[in-house]
């Protein structure tokens, strides 16, 4: 399978990438690791006229703590590859859910290429890292012709493959609250070890996010509210599928997905509590 022809632009900096996006508008797609985009292009489900390759902008790859105390955030460069995040010492100490989940994306070869900014911009509801980011809270930092802006993760993913970004913007950073070494749980149900989640649940600091239970990754708000009101984990987890709209496919029907959401939420919350 061979992608349809396209023009290729290698961006040496964020500014060069933004200039190319401004020039080509909706005809252009950004190429980072390419492990979601290139398979779609090979199937001709995506046929961009121009690819803007940001994979060589290495100063988009970093993890650092900014600010102090309760306001401290962990800033992750959008070009940080999954295998880099998985092993990053700062991430492991300051927000351990993220490197754990990065290590459960795809397989080793995929983790060597895929980036956190790419999976964020791609907006597949079955993605691991967006599920973890939604549970953590925080913001997506976008850069466009008008400068930088931050969009809360709760409003960033607007639909299947749809986000709050404009075509002339680039994801440049993810910012999440610093949790420190704390309890977390990430439970994903797959047919093979690190496959796409049929359903997944991420739990940290009393918040729960679910993968593949709607058109976007979603928070299990009924579960979170029940926990805040003093419900037990078992009681709260029974509410995890409330407000979700899972689809049926060859892996699971909608009812089975709802069952998985409740079960995996309970397990993720139990892990988060046990490890805290």
């Amino acid at each position: 399978m061979i992608p349809a022809p396209f023009d290729y632009v290698r961006a040496g900096s964020v500014e060069e990438a933004l200039a190319a996006l401004a020039e080509h508008g909706e005809d252009a797609k950004v190429l980072a690791g390419g492990h979601s985009l290139l398979p779609l292009m090979k199937l001709r489900l995506a046929t961009p006229a121009v690819l803007v390759d940001i994979g060589g902008i290495r100063d988009l790859s970093y993890v650092r703590v900014e600010g102090d105390g309760a306001d401290a955030v962990v800033a992750i460069g959008a070009g940080t590859r999954h295998h880099e995040l998985q092993r990053n010492e700062v991430a492991r100490a300051e927000v351990p859910l993220l490197p754990h989940v990065a290590g459960r994306v795809g397989d080793a070869q995929v983790r060597h290429r895929g980036t956190i900014g790419g999976t964020t911009a791609h907006s597949d509801p079955a993605s691991d890292l967006p599920t973890a980011l939604l549970a953590l809270g925080g913001t997506v930092v976008l850069q466009g012709p008008g400068g930088r802006r931050e969009v809360p993760v709760t409003g960033f993913w607007t639909g299947f493959f749809e986000t709050a970004m404009s075509p002339d913007e680039l994801v440049v950073e993810l910012r999440v609250p610093r949790t420190g070494v704390t309890g977390f749980g990430y439970e994903k149900f797959t047919r093979r070890e690190n496959d796409w989640p049929i359903v997944a649940a991420a739990a940290v600091a009393g918040r729960v996010a679910l993968a593949n239970m709607a058109g976007t990754v979603v928070r299990a708000t009924a579960t979170e509210e029940a926990l805040a009101a003093g419900a037990s984990i078992a009681e709260a987890a029974e509410l995890a599928d409330q407000g979700t709209s899972p689809v049926a496919d060859m892996h699971a029907d909608a009812d089975y997905r709802r069952h998985l959401a409740r079960l995996l939420t309970r397990r993720a919350l139990e892990k988060a509590t046990a490890a805290a």
């Binding site: 190429l31 492990h35 398979p39 690819l51 080793a108 995929v110 093979r192």
Partner: protein
């Protein structure tokens, strides 16, 4: 567009279409056909090669993305005198193959795994090679081969440096 890619120590500049996949570049432009294309969907790992020290599936990388990179394929593993790389020897010793189609990708992925984890357990080998499928289901001997290769120490996780004549 022009790409300049070092494959098994040999640097070359070629005129390619932007849409050319690295797997096709290696097989058709460079004539190195050990790298097999199996599923063509980033699932089976048969096309795994090492790019700048990391295993990747070359059916999901553009040749353009490898511009300036150092690529190692199966052809680049054995020494000039024919001495096999420790992972190749171990696959032969433990009969870590049946039909052989997945073998080039398995060997390259195993080198990537051993570079990262020089002494993996059986479970770590199985997880580390999750991205490589053997349709003969010959996994037991493949796991054994990787464990045997690990006994060679750091050399098992290294790709040779310098020029290998294709």
């Amino acid at each position: 567009m022009q790409v300049s890619i070092t494959v098994n120590g040999n640097q070359r500049t070629d005129e390619v279409e932007p849409r050319l996949l690295l797997a096709h570049y290696l097989r058709e432009v460079r004539g190195l056909r050990a790298t097999n294309i199996g599923c063509d969907t980033t699932s089976c790992g048969a096309c795994t090669v090492i790019v700048d020290g990391l295993s990747v599936k070359s059916c999901t990388v553009l040749a353009a993305q490898a511009d300036g990179a150092e690529v190692t394929t199966l052809e680049g593993l054995a020494a000039a005198d024919g001495e096999l790389h420790p992972v190749q020897s171990a696959f032969r010793e433990e009969h870590g193959l049946q039909c052989g189609f997945c073998t080039p990708g398995m060997v390259m992925a195993a080198i990537g795994l051993l570079a990262d984890n020089p002494d993996p357990t059986d479970r770590e080998v199985r997880e580390g090679l999750e991205g490589n499928l053997c349709r003969c289901t010959g996994y037991h001997n493949i796991v054994r081969a990787v464990r045997t290769a690990a006994k060679a120490g750091a050399a098992a996780g290294r790709v040779p440096q310098g020029r290998v004549e294709a």
